[in-house]
Chain length 324, copies 3
């Protein structure tokens, strides 16, 4: 036996012993964990309907995107011969996945779950049907979003490039779907969808936000659009823009849960990177421009440009190679 | 043969020739790559123990989350009948995955790798055991984080919504686990875990940071919390907040590698979006509020509100439709 | 039959009826969707070559990374015995995946797609070959990036830690590959690659950007580097830095599509978090330092430090526990 093998064997042997000791002690620890499962201080989800979303929400969004931008994200060529079969099959599948998923989240939140409840399944099917019914309208809206992105971005070389790779379009696609479900009062799922888009794009749009046509988010990382924001048509925003709520007194959460806390942005507004617009009474008038890094907690009228006064900069010469 | 088929055939034929030429040239290129594998200027990982983490770190975190929030992320309904079997099986599996993963990273960094080493395996098992032992405590801490998030956020409609979809909770969950491993001096893995959370949430918390109970990050994209930060209880921060180090002279990396370089945030502090707090001697006193976009490199006392003076804004009226 | 079973049965029965009604109505909706597939207002991808990238781009980047950092991301131990076979097999596979992927995107954009075209396949093979040929050079460049990251970051405990977990290194790795494809005029794919890195890291580097050696991005979330930026050697930037274009008049997209719109950053510059540098004529001179949150639309000379004047802060004492 070579020296190396001896060492390895020794290591494995001592190791195995160590492992056994810990493994042998596991049942005691597991018992303690199980006995504190229903600790009233902690959250557990026992006896509840599972939400089941783990893998399916992302698949569901991919399926929807395949239908909303037919052929773009498919690995098979779609042409006039197969399009009917392809779309028919994909839409039927989507209906089945979507309705089942919605039924799960409805049952999960259903207060009548332990009583007789016949509504969850019906509501789930109807909501899935509504989403699918709106596909032709969604396609038009998303096409307008694509064109608006292209028109204002010199780095875009084709409409296809925007569809294939722009995170802003991904985020608004997911938002326009999540918004339909949110309007149908479907719990949990719209927010899970918007957080998936947030995770993939850095763009955080609450499904409750109301957003008009031809909406563009460029780059997008760090964008936050709050629940009760109202955004008009032909609005363009850049990375790190917050359309948010004013700060709240501690504990005000409960009282404000159902009021308009976020701004209104009228048609044809541009908001440059890093700008922050806050407050439910704040209105940015139509055709106005909010410059980079502006911090706004009050309204501005239509046809206005607002910039920060360039902060006085302090400039020092350094000796070569001095670093900071 | 149709015209189309002819064209396709031609294309394929010319193409195949082209492919053959390049493919035939591959071995020469591969040889050059292999001969420079051990170029001392470059990094290669040859003869080292592999870290093996590629797929397992994300799975591992999912498994941990399933145990820390029992039933929430499961596709099977958990109830009083199956919870013992379910949790027992999941925790045993987690122990096996986690201990193996930790042993891999220990061996990877083990300087005695080419000598007799019996410690890596034992340490790995013990560390995995420690994580599992702390699950009941972690559950309490995370439940407190959930409640704190709910209390301060009017957009949250239920505690479940926070557990299912809030990126801030995901980031703090991963942090609280990574911190345990970091305190046990496990190399690589804590940082790989925190970077996974960073990738999914945009929230970058160094596993070395010390963070008290009831910690809330809202929206979160762009948040950075440095290695030696100390954060008290009941602190709430918003997107794009940096708790970081002061700028360093070039090349100062080495000297500062083990000193406190990041601020202390005392209990009950709120830091609004875009604020930057820097420096190892900076202390934000208890119950203070740091306003949006504030840039702070010195301490502020307890019970203080600090805001930027609203920068003078320059406002211009434009002609309708003029754009910027 | 227990009461519970009765309820469940009722629920399922009413549910099934509901489902049937909606499902029965699907064909009509599907018909409407299919009949509007070629709506000239909308985007569809019918009769086009599919791009096929869905799963393969991420795999492709992983494969490239495995070859650029040999052994690091492998689950098998690589040593002097197996390295030749391992690398040979991996590089051949990469060539096959990469060439096929490039051919797909070329065909997709090929205007001669409906005529005889023999060039796409040849160009695809040649481009894939070029990428593979440059692997030894890429390895040297990336090793220099790793060393630069380590030298300036006291939180980094080893070079390996940077390779395993730093998002800045991931982003620059993808950029250096995407840039080669961009220079070869490969459409779509470079941008899809850079957006994948953007999604995973929050760092948005346009594949057209020119970036010198020893480039470091720390933390990185929110970084934007525009298409025509030129960045020298030994430059270090932090989270939320924008190297971008000045705002454009509405509709200027088309005219500006091929001009230099983004800054030039000379050698040895540091740009701290939140700084914004804009405009195609803006030059940051060598060895200069741009402080956090600086907003710059004009050039600064070499050996200059530029900071914002610390904004006057408004400080108020609050009563204990008063909150905001």
């Amino acid at each position: 036996m070579s020296m190396l093998n001896k060492k390895e064997e020794l290591c494995r042997y001592v190791g195995s012993q160590a492992r056994d000791e810990q493994r042998a002690a596991l049942p005691g620890v597991i018992d303690r964990i199980i006995h504190t499962l229903d600790d009233p201080e902690c959250f557990a989800h026992i006896g509840n309907e599972p939400i089941h979303f783990s893998t399916s929400v992302r698949d569901m969004i991919e399926k929807l995107r395949n239908i909303l931008f037919p052929g773009y994200f498919s690995n098979e060529k779609m042409d006039s011969v197969n399009q009917t079969y392809h779309m028919g099959r994909e839409i039927t599948r989507l209906y089945d996945i979507l309705s089942r998923q919605i039924i799960h989240v409805l049952r999960h939140d259903c207060l009548r779950f332990d009583r007789v409840c016949s509504k969850c399944e019906r509501r789930g099917n109807e909501a899935a049907f509504t989403v699918i019914e709106q596909i032709p309208i969604l396609r038009k809206k998303l096409a307008a979003d694509v064109r608006a992105a292209y028109d204002g971005d010199p780095a875009a070389k084709s409409h296809d490039e925007i569809i294939f790779s722009y995170p802003g379009l991904y985020a608004i696609t997911v938002h326009r779907i999540a918004k339909i479900l949110h309007q149908l009062d479907i719990p949990q799922l719209p927010r899970i969808m918007s957080e998936l888009a947030h995770s993939l794009t850095g763009i955080d749009i609450h499904p409750g936000a109301t957003i008009g046509e031809r909406f563009v988010i460029d780059h997008g990382t760090g964008v936050v659009i709050g629940e009760t924001s109202v955004i008009g048509e032909n609005v363009r925003i850049y990375q790190n823009v917050t359309i948010g709520a004013l700060s709240l007194p501690r504990g005000a959460g409960e009282k404000l849960r159902w009021t308009k806390r976020h701004p209104t942005i009228e048609d044809d507004v541009i908001i440059y990177s890093g700008a922050t617009v806050l407050g439910g009474d704040t209105v940015i008038g139509a055709r106005s421009v909010v410059g980079g890094n502006v911090w706004l907690t009050r309204s501005i009228p239509v046809d206005t440009k607002i910039f920060i006064e360039e902060p006085r900069l302090i400039i020092k010469k350094t000796n070569k190679g001095d670093g900071l």
